[in-house]
Amino acid sequence: MNAALAPPPSAPTPSETPTHYLNASYGFRSWLLTLDHKRIALLYLASITLFFFIGGFYAVLVRLELVTPAGDLMSAENYNTAFTLHGVVMIFFFLIPSIPAVLGNFLIPIMIGARDLAFPKLNLLSWYIYMVGGMVAAYALFTGGVDTGWTLYAPYSSTYSNSNVTATAIAAFITGFSSILTGLNFVVTIHKMRAPGLTWFRLPLFVWAHYATSVIQVLGTPVLAITLVLLILERSFGFGFFDPARGGDPVLFQHLFWFYSHPAVYIMILPSMGVISELVTCFSRKKVFGYGFIAMSSVAIAVLGFLVWGHHMFVSGQSVYAGMVFSILSFMVGIPSAIKVFNWTATMYKGSISYSTPMIYAFGFIGLFTIGGLTGLFLANLGLDIHLHDTYFVVAHFHYIMVGGAVMGYLGGIHYWWPKMTGRLYPEGWARFSALVLFVGFNLTFFPQFLLGYMGMPRRYHAYPEEFQVLNVMSSAGASILGVGYLIPMIYLFWSMRYGRLAPENPWGAKGLEWTTPSPPTTFNFDETPVVTEEAYEYVKEEKH
């Protein structure tokens, strides 16, 4: 196993530290007014990490309360606030920006051989918008929180809740524009800034995944924005868009909400799939199996993702025929997802497989995403969803996708590109250990929830009948392991920024333009615009790094 830890062949000696994007300039101004996509990526990294731990704090509260059947640790108001803030913070302030805003921001220009994104000022503006949204969310949080669930269903949110719904809606509205502008920036960059010779079908799959994601961000997020505007008008100014007493319909809110929020799931998972494609090829040291199918399946998921929102409303009184259409389309999403999993697996066939930390995350991702995807079929199924809707089965399913999938991919990607981002190597032993802890903790936390769901435990329950306790205790125990699993990387990654071994240009022997730049790269990435002459992942025998 130690063979995977290659000694850095060409680490620069400390005496002749070259200029790179981190030491090009110093001081607060040089960071807060930076137009460098790599520095903006690090600004995002710091801020989403902060929000991740805030969201995690609320998850801890939720799991602690659910250790016992009675609602004894905190009041119902506080519990409802805790799970709502967990959802709002994790989704809008961590998962949606996570991979695109950190890894995408850092890597897309380098991967396509550009000096920066197409609109650097817009990129910085996105981060400021995100921070303003975050501050409004923090205001909502510190002035009593919000108790509607992240789904903000009317009329509870518009009329009945006494909590800070308006502030929360404004926070999500503002942050949405950060997401739109990031997506817009990526689409334009990928279209117009590719290096000579870098045709569409030579792009790394990471870039394809971000292209598909960005399209969803640009086209989906504004629908959430207008829905939140209507909600705010209804709640604060007495308009009645979703009020049946004035000819409105609360189910319309659900349609508008899910029109964005279902595709939003793909905003979270597609970039992660892009990361996994990079990891599997690099650590199998092999050309990806079925490049075109993986690339096109990202696009297919983005398109189909816009057509399945109604599967959240199988029991909301929508017509049977609408239910059938949404059901069959939801099943269809399973096919491009399955194609990806099969192609990743096939890439490993006859490869040269290294068990480096990022690959361990990739193994974890494929396993957990497979389970998450397959259990999604249960929920796309009209006959089964009647029973499973709004139970813990749903909670388990989307955590397998979003935590087992998106977060595993995010951490795998962070480890993979950490040497590039910081110029330092992390301690491999600790990293593998924490990846295993996360995998075990995750499964122990969320697998019992599938069983709870089929037994009928509804979600968002502060207190629950006694027969559900054993599984809930298992889940909470798993969550504590999971929490440790997140803290370890926090510590050693932070440590490695200062004390880690210096990273060479290409520590993994990987392909891709980002590995031809110094670690860390210079401010404008390349001294000369590179010319691309081969397809992605062209691993050949002669070449050695």
Binding site: F119, K121, V223, F239, R246, L256, T529
Partner: protein, 219 residues
């Protein structure tokens, strides 16, 4: 949208040449407009559904809008699109003074629109047609008439907000024109400003018949 670096030519560092820069900013603006279409699309979807459910109530409520003022505003906006287009043309030819004048005309027409809109809103206020607890409506007892006014204020309000943002942008471009920034090789920002302005006008071209003319064929 675009990056105005210190280069005299207006070329930002991340681009190789002005053509690439113009291509990129134009694509960026079209994407932004796609985003805007989805934003207004949510409102139009709500309008379509509710009007289908309550055709009578919507038609009756529509009579309370002033077709003359709405029509006048439509003409004002069409003219402002014309002056905007002329402004873009002037920028392409590098005539900064003409750019300034046309953008100023566009700006003033936009203000006329907003002032008329403010009068209309005031009128609705006096009549008690603002949705909410104080809503009063003479005629139909169907509570769904209020839905029409919900949508009227949300749609025209969002449109007016876009007009106000457009006005702010116009001021910025007038200042740039005063500084003689534009020439045959560098006029992209004015062009994409033009795209935005035309988009906002087109939204109104849809809003006017849907909201104001709705009751006509029933009466």
């Amino acid at each position: 949208m675009s990056d105005h670096s210190s280069h005299g030519s207006g070329l930002a560092h991340q681009f190789d040449d002005l053509d690439q820069q113009l291509d990129a900013t134009t694509l960026g603006m079209w994407l932004f407009l796609a985003q805007e279409i989805m934003f207004f699309g949510g409102l139009f979807a709500a309008y379509t559904i509710y009007r289908n459910w309550h055709p009578e109530a919507f038609a009756e409520a529509s009579h309370h809008l002033d077709i003359k003022l709405g029509g006048f505003n439509t003409v004002v906006l069409i003219f402002s699109s014309l002056t905007m287009a002329l402004g873009v043309r002037a920028a392409q030819m590098g005539k900064n003074k003409a750019v300034f004048n046309y953008l100023f005309a566009t700006f003033m027409l936009g203000n006329v629109f907003l002032v008329v809109k403010a009068f209309e809103y005031h009128h609705k206020w006096v009549e008690g047609l603002i949705p909410g607890p104080w809503f009063r409506f003479e005629g139909s007892t169907d509570p769904a008439v209020q839905m029409f006014f919900n949508l009227y204020f949300a749609m025209t309000g969002m449109h007016a907000l876009h007009m106000i943002i457009g006005g702010g942008l116009l001021i910025y471009f007038m200042v740039q024109a005063r500084k003689n920034r534009y020439h045959e090789g560098y006029y992209g920002p004015v062009e994409i400003m033009g795209l935005y302005w035309h988009f906002v006008d087109i939204v109104w071209i849809f809003l006017f018949p849907l909201l104001y003319l709705l009751g006509l064929h029933n009466s």
